[in-house]
């Protein structure tokens, strides 16, 4: 074996290294040489290349993401902020909740089932790493056109992967989104959210403190998963032929993860770790350098001690491997026997691979030879930072000047046709085909799940304290105006939380964009971050963490800018939550909020192939008052449903179809009211006896209300348009089975 050691690197400074193949730019390679004062060894090169990648280093986004810290509102609830594996918020009664959303877009395109499955596995481990028990997951998904052949390959695989992994873990999947748009063809978005709960005192951090403390790798053995790119190094270092090309696909084993979760929770319960980090992207390179970088000193690792599934792996490959279901812990020597005993009980392989030192370097040896000798901060936290050029793309002004000219239904027959057509369109049609593959109620604490406005889970079975989570993005609005689009997505997500009866508390995000090297895309990104930071400041919500996914583009066509915003809310008594469906006849239906005539970026315009004009302007003050109204009036709402994609028409249809109880609605100006998409509206159902209370609330919060009808019957009647629920239901539920079997 020809090992590239530190002394070898000193003797042979001019050795040609394949840094470009590993994605490093010339100046980045020179910077590594500058930091080390010599050329890197191939193991060091592997570590730097992957840790300085866009995915791990956030080198293009960092300068913008700082705004989340700079503009952060003061929040009593925030216990752990951006920078750790996931943010943690206080929800009262001694409970802390951690939640985060991440992308697994590209792997899910290459191998839909395993890509989506390992996406779930990765985010669950992030939550576990904070010391929390994972309690629910959610998956916002985006695909190319529903009819496209590749969507038929990708969607069923992704859905089965999410279901397969999440169901095996026994985690309820309580919501998400499914949106189709042609820009996602070849770039499906698989974003995975997980939420976990712990007691305040159980919070764990990814830090390696205390000289002499041990570094323990535990969980699955290390194989050649996800190291496709690094095989360049292997093939260069070794002359002998490899068995096969290393795969870039990681395969997940949910049962191993389930055991790992229980094992970790028992270890946490006995307070046996000083710091802990999961192994995700960049595997051991990331875990060791991040732990050491966040800690006080250095670290020594003996790489040959890593238990291998595939004994032919080279040291570079061991460092890069993205084998799933692995964790790295820092343990005091006095606790190690107990730690290993718990791992043994759960049949989890655990190995001491090194120790924390009082030095300043991360040293990695392989059979006694020094192969990595780096300052850990330069790998993990002080990577390159780019101020990429950005400029407003030409299409913005062009579209802003255009008008949205779509035919509006006028007669009763036209209105009926329009509602049926809208509800059958893939973006609005019933998603049961997908969500029925997910376990939504396992653990018995799910209060609300898809298709409700937000997912609600009970945290405490005695006090009925619970949390609500919603994820939202309106990529078409973000395309028309990324600044407003981000604010609109945050507002919608908060509105969804409040509609269910919970108080918004904290924000996470998954920002999916095209190539940052395109100034137009970079501008979309910069505007999005600015909008989200401004809106969070105005609504007083801290951003607890998030994820950026760049390079979602095929050729020169980028995806629509898609900032998926997740909001976490707290509800004091989950029994008081407001469901979306109309559950009985004789209720009064009210439209709360100002109806508008915005068709830009609407589903109705999309169905007519029209994209133009401006995103609606958002008034956050109005949104805040609406949220306050929803929360204060919670007890009088029999049901409530947010008006978003598909306008009031979709809102009403979903409300009546939930329990198959119809409604009779009369609208003065049916076409714009039904099909326009204007933010800041909610439809509620109340007992007629609560009318005075609602009027008083509307006055107090200065929000317009309009009585639009009553519930009952077996039809949805809008003015003279009479749609039987059977017919509406058929249109609504037929689409997915027809498309995907």
């Amino acid at each position: 074996m020809n090992l590239d050691t530190v002394s070898q690197a000193q003797i042979d400074p001019d050795h040609v290294q394949p840094f470009r193949e590993l994605g490093l730019k010339d100046d980045e390679y020179f910077r590594i040489k500058e930091i080390l004062g010599r050329r890197p060894t191939s193991s060091e090169l592997a570590m730097y290349s992957v840790m300085w990648s866009e995915h791990c280093s956030y080198k293009s986004s960092k300068v913008h993401l700082r705004q989340f810290g700079e503009k952060a509102p003061h929040s009593e609830a925030l216990l752990v902020g951006i920078g750790e594996n996931a943010g943690v918020v206080d929800i009262g009664q001694g409970y802390a909740v951690t939640f985060k959303i991440e992308s697994h877009n590209h792997p899910s395109f290459v191998e839909p089932y395993q890509g989506a499955a390992t996406g779930v596995g990765g985010i669950v481990r992030d939550i576990l790493t904070m010391g929390a028990r994972p309690i629910a997951v959610m998956d916002p998904l985006r695909f190319g056109l529903a009819q496209a052949p590749d969507t038929k390959r990708v969607l069923p695989g992704i859905v089965a992967g999410i279901g397969g992994y999440g169901n095996c873990l026994g985690l309820p999947n309580i919501g998400g989104e499914i949106v189709f748009d042609e820009t996602y063809a070849g770039n499906p978005l698989v974003n995975a959210l997980c939420v976990g709960v712990m007691r305040h005192e159980d919070i764990k951090l990814a830090k390696a403190h205390g000289t002499g403390n041990l570094v323990v790798l535990f969980g699955a053995k290390t194989g050649g998963d996800g190291i496709g790119g690094v095989s360049v190094l292997a093939s260069e270092t070794f002359n002998d032929a490899k068995p096969t090309k290393r795969p870039s696909v990681q395969v997940g084993d949910p049962f191993a993860e389930k055991v790992l979760i229980e094992c970790c929770l028992e270890i946490f319960h006995e307070d046996l770790v000083v710091g802990i980090q999961d192994l995700g992207g960049a595997g051991l390179s990331c875990a060791t350098s991040e732990l050491a970088s966040a800690g006080s000193g250095g670290m020594n690792i003996q790489l040959e001690k890593v238990p291998l599934r595939d004994p032919s792996l080279s040291p570079e490959e061991i460092l890069m491997s993205e084998s799933q279901e692995r964790m790295c812990a820092i343990v005091e020597p006095s606790n190690i026997n107990r730690f290993l005993a718990i791992c043994k009980k759960w049949d989890v392989t655990a190995t001491v691979i090194g120790e924390v030192t009082d030095g300043e370097r991360l040293n990695i040896t392989f059979n006694g030879e020094l192969i990595v000798h780096v300052p850990p901060r330069t790998v993990a936290h002080e990577g390159p930072v780019y101020n990429r050029p950005f400029a407003e793309p030409d299409y913005i002004a062009k579209l802003a000047a255009s008008t949205v000219d779509v035919p509006l239904p006028i007669t009763a027959a036209e209105i009926k046709d329009a509602v049926l057509k809208l509800m059958a369109s893939p973006n609005l049609a019933d998603k049961t085909w997908v969500t029925s593959q997910y376990d939504r109620y396992v653990q018995g604490n799910t209060i609300l799940a898809q298709p409700e406005d937000s997912g609600v889970v009970r945290i405490d079975e005695q006090t009925h304290l619970g949390v609500a989570i919603s994820t939202d993005a309106n990529a078409r609005w973000s395309y028309l105006n990324p600044y407003e689009g981000a604010k609109l997505a945050l507002a919608e997500s908060c509105r969804n939380i409040a509609t269910s009866g919970a108080k918004p508390l904290a924000v996470t995000n998954c920002l999916n964009f095209g190539s940052p090297e395109d100034p137009g895309v970079m501008w979309q990104f910069a505007e999005t971050v600015r909008g989200l930071a401004d809106a969070c400041l105005e609504l007083g919500l801290p951003v607890t963490g998030g994820n950026v996914s760049f390079y979602n583009q095929t050729g020169t066509v980028a995806i629509l800018p898609t900032p998926v915003i997740g909001v976490l809310g707290v509800i004091q008594d989950v029994r008081e939550r407001t469901p979306m469906g109309i559950a009985k006849a004789g209720l009064d239906l009210y439209l709360i909020g100002q109806a508008g005539e915005n068709f830009s970026g609407s589903e109705w315009a999309y169905l007519h192939g029209v994209m133009g004009n401006q995103a609606p302007e958002l008034n956050l003050d109005v949104e805040q008052r609406l949220i306050n109204l929803l929360l204060e009036g919670q007890s009088i709402f029999e049901s409530a449903h947010d008006v978003s994609n598909g306008g009031v028409a979709a809102t009403l249809s979903e409300m009546v179809l939930r329990h198959k109880i119809g409604a009779k609605v009369s609208l003065e100006n049916p076409a714009p009211t039904l099909f326009a998409e204007t933010p800041g509206q909610v439809v509620v159902a109340i007992e007629p006896t609560s009318t005075n209370d609602l009027v008083a609330l509307a006055g107090k919060f200065q929000i317009p209300i309009l009585r639009i009808g009553t519930s009952g019957g077996e039809n949805l009647i809008i003015n003279d348009a009479d749609i039987s629920l059977v017919e509406l239901n058929q249109a609504f539920t037929e689409t997915f089975p027809k498309l995907f079997g």
Binding site: D225, T244, R246, V249
Partner: protein, 81 residues
């Protein structure tokens, strides 16, 4: 009458949780001979007469597109008479 057998295996470097589970169950049941187990699947496809050259090409194509997932699996096609 020919029988076409298509054997599909995960590529050697891909994690095989099922094989691993069998591998760890064997010693528990007293079978101590195994050092590793990998699990695959086998298709038996019957047809009238021997496959022509173009039919063999079709079989290869079916094996690659339907019976196996070439991203993570390999396959072998055999003809049994």
């Amino acid at each position: 009458m020919a029988k076409i057998v298509v054997e599909v295996m995960l590529k050697p470097e891909i994690l095989d949780p099922q094989g691993q589970a069998v591998g760890s169950a064997l010693p528990r049941l007293g079978f101590t001979f195994a050092t590793s187990v990998r699990q695959g699947k086998r298709f038996e496809i019957e047809m009238v007469g021997d496959p022509s050259e173009s039919q063999m090409a079709d079989i290869q194509k079916a094996a690659e597109t339907l019976l196996s997932n070439p991203v993570i699996e390999t396959y072998v096609v055999k003809v049994e008479k």
